[in-house]
Symmetry: C2
Subunit: 246 residues, 2 copies
Amino acid sequence: MSPQLIAVSIDRDSPIPLYHQLARQLTAAISDGQLQPGDPFENEVALGTRLQVSRPTVRRAIQEMVDQGLLIRRRGLGTRVANRKVHRKFELSSLYDELEREDRRPGTLVLERETVVNERAASALDLPATTPLLSIVRVRTAEGSPLAILHNWLPPAHADITREDLEQTGLYAALRARGCRPVVARQSIGARKPTPTERKHLRIHGTQPVLTMTRMAFDSEGKAIEFGDHCYRSEDYTIDLMVDER
Amino acid sequence: MSPQLIAVSIDRDSPIPLYHQLARQLTAAISDGQLQPGDPFENEVALGTRLQVSRPTVRRAIQEMVDQGLLIRRRGLGTRVANRKVHRKFELSSLYDELEREDRRPGTLVLERETVVNERAASALDLPATTPLLSIVRVRTAEGSPLAILHNWLPPAHADITREDLEQTGLYAALRARGCRPVVARQSIGARKPTPTERKHLRIHGTQPVLTMTRMAFDSEGKAIEFGDHCYRSEDYTIDLMVDER
DNA sequence: CATATGCGAATGTCAGGACAATCTCTCGAT
DNA sequence: ATCGAGAGATTGTCCTGACATTCGCATATG
């Protein structure tokens, strides 16, 4: 009944922090199925001694995994692998990434790409109302069928994103390639009847509604990255997320 | 341009951890407006010296606030109060709490309260399929108008929640009163046409859709607390949330 | 004048130790 | 046999200390 020892190799010369190297490999052991939900986890001090790292480093690695819902810690008892249901899949991802991960052949049709002045978007991004923004309208398809209409506004710093960038990789991937990583976003999700234009582009029949989401995304320094106003075919799409209180 | 010194009193005899005492008071200084977005923040070592606490303690307090989007840290530069747009309002709350906070006179009409066996709910809560669950159906009103139909299933441990509990306080408040705190939840949000029953209870006219949300909530130990299947009048309700990647 | 270089300041990482709080389990007394 | 006290194990909190990394800015250099 002693906890399973997970093989971990740590590289002290790597620029990647030790606690993160640790967390990545321990996380892999869980997603590999090497550790099952409910399994006991090697205790902090033993793990530290075995791997020749200090307890704070081990604690930080474990904390990372606890924050992601992978582990449950209880004082006096120990650490265990959490129930699979509470494992956090993802937090901040884009539709394109999701479709790609599920292998559903995502495609993009760029309907518009121009510089505009839009007070609502500028205000959402916390920029002056007259700031020129890059406005992008796309139709996202999966396996050839339209799934969503995505309208995004970007601050001037990213005004040089091209149609090709968008068609080949998706907006978030293009932003990441430019070293711009969204870290925090405020989203608002609702539902409504589609407009005639939306009905046409999304091939909506009858009285099916659309699911709408607006999003303001910021980087780690709090700089605005993107404002998006999206609408999805409700038959084909739900928004899944984990929320947690720490 | 030296940073503003925030008055903080720490009580070393309190059972509340020092880092949390610190974080609470510094957070208060921001919500009070004592510190404005963009203001520089006293650096870690100075703060520690001034308050006679160690640097790790200060760091942990600051980290708590960074996690909530209140502060921005940049190596080599310092810490600043974040842009207000990225301040996280709340993460995991209930409709009742939200309405109450906005002073919209929430009310509850309990339509059903009985013990059932439901495979879908049991599976979502990671319980055996034949576990008897308390099934609760409520209509939530705000200022007298119906806003949502809430269908929840609870594990046997909470089978003694009464109609009165639900009518007076709301489900989450009742659970909290029993020492049961939801910490992590998995949600799925979508949209669809309402059923005839929903149209009647929510007084939906024409072809207005409903916004739907299902939620599985767990406590800090990963134990199931609640499975909910809700639907909202889309004209009156959006789901707002912050997502972040750390 | 433009560009490098270097310095100070601040946060990031890591170590090692000490004690407290909490849980489980065993052992002993009744 | 049952119940309670205590021991052991494990995580939670806090401290001190050290060095690395990154950024802005002033100064030196071409």
